[in-house]
Amino acid sequence: MHYIKNIIKYTGIIIFILLLALPTFEGLSPEGQRALAVFVLIMTFWLTNIMPLAITSLLGMALMPLLNIMSVDNTFALFGNKAIFFILGALIISAALYYTGLGSRMAFSLIKVFGNTPRKLLAGTLLTAALMSCLMPEHAVAALLFPIVMEIALSLELKPLESSYGKLLFLSMAWGAIIGGITTYLGGSRNLLAVSILEQQYNMSIGFFEWIKYSWPIPTLMLLFFIFLIWKYFKIELDNIDKAYQVLEEKLAEKGSLSFDEKKLIATLALIIFSWLFLAQIIHISVTAVIGAVLIFVLKIVAWREIEEYVNWGIIIMYGGAIVVATSLVETGATAWLSNQIFSRLDLSIFWFLALLALFTILLTEGVSNVAAVAVILPIAFSISDIYQLNPIIITLSVALPGGLAFMFPMGTPPNAIAFSSGYYKIEDSVKLGIILNIAGWFVYILVLKFYWPLLGLTF
């Protein structure tokens, strides 16, 4: 793996230097060629993870004015994108959920409601993770659920690598979070990053409610498929989960009734979600997110020092850089050149182009961070879609939704890494089952592309 990473890294650096040194290609502006060079360099750094993702983004931003691709003002102004402020607000809201304990209360309650038999507990863990990932980033959901699932595993005396139930518990937690994370902008901010790139390139957008309208069949069908596997396919070695159920009851009892801060947070969340769903035409979702974050402080639900402990601001830099790099390709005409010169000779039907695009994204996101996968693939996919004169919203959905479906490897997405650190399963286990879910995800995407999106006017 290390060897492959090095090859990719050095290839990227060599192509970067060559693109800067070679005479300008016909039909491409000098700025466009330099933008392509930076894109290749940043893409390889994101894919190989040789520097923290956020630092790679900063490098991308610094190279824009340095190589005369975009002005300093333009480059840094892009960082002030509304998607960035939505993510900022959403991170603060998510931190409040974690800090006040409302998140873990929700998790305990949901898991308890769903399951009092071994199979129901598995389904409950899956659905709890999925539902919570509609409200919080998927990695935060996995981190929040991990101690609860670990408590369950220990209370049932499940042995690491020996208990198939232990393995399934942690996989249900991670995969529930991953599947649920594609449903809204809150579960996976990459969804919003994709929409932001769409806005920069085509001046089109997808609203909060609209996104859910397009996305929901994919997580729903995948969850149903996984529950089917739990009921019919997986062998469960336990007869009852009484001890775990008792732990859940005790933990929930320890929490007592809702605290005043939790009540204030519930009211704030209700207002925010109402605005996102029904007032998005009047108040932009990013403004609502920022107002929600302010409300959380005004109502003294959390203090700034607590937010600083709970939020990793690196994600903002990562997303800002991704928007800058993707926009540079559009503004310099590099994507138009790519579509005319490189991809215009593609001999694929539109359907197969979209199906293969989704498959390629699923495969890439297994090996690299799914934010990086979306940031890398989407600008190129847009350049190809121009040849087919496709609705760019279909392209955005075809990259962002499959881009969240990484099930096999710990490095694909943080929920996998978090679940794997339980020690309850081997990579081979998640690969074997993950392939099945990858294939299911691809089929579900194809079904939705062919039969559901056309009903909403997304034809191809």
């Binding site: 042995k159 690598l161 020996e162 709970y310 990793n312 690196g314 710990p410 943080p414 650190s421 020690g423």
Partner: protein, 159 residues
């Protein structure tokens, strides 16, 4: 009367290791068990949760604590089972938990105890095991040329 040492870097897959171990042990033997305990998760785990996963410091710390606590509980559980199993046998058992930063005493003990063989369970999971320390002990055992049976998460290594 033989003297054997069981070193546990991993607490996974121990059923198959137990089967192997107890076939080798005979009445009157002495078994030393040294469970290597982590006080924090390896850097690679931090890298995945913080650099790639963008978890906040407090969230990442809570997660790491939970990972380490899970490992401790699994270690306790196994050692308790081992004590119960050995209680019904004519074996002498000595159990110690060792911080993964303090392996020098373990090495000293291996040299002093005149062991007949070492059984060792390494981990394949680099997110929850200190692979550098595992390599250190692996190299040490190679160097002193002691008879050893090594496992990875309960699966016996090929000779």
């Amino acid at each position: 009367m033989g003297k054997y040492l069981l070193i546990l870097f991993s607490f996974a897959g121990l059923e198959s290791l137990n089967n192997f171990l107890f076939k080798k042990l005979e009445s009157g033997d002495k078994l030393f068990v040294r469970a290597i305990i982590l006080d924090a998760v390896p850097k690679l785990h931090e890298h995945l949760t913080s650099d790639v996963g963008f978890l906040g410091d407090k969230v990442a710390n809570d997660l790491e604590e939970s990972v380490v606590e899970g490992q401790h509980d699994n270690a306790e559980e196994y050692l308790k089972e081992l004590k119960e199993k050995v209680a019904n046998m004519d074996l002498e058992l000595s159990i110690k938990k060792i911080d993964h930063h303090h392996l020098d005493n373990l090495k000293k003990g291996i040299l002093e105890k005149e062991l007949d063989a070492v059984f060792i369970n390494f981990s394949n999971n680099k997110y929850i095991s200190d692979q550098i320390k595992e390599q250190e002990i692996r190299d040490f055992l190679e160097k002193i040329k002691i008879k050893q049976y090594s496992f990875h998460d309960g699966k016996k290594d090929k000779a």
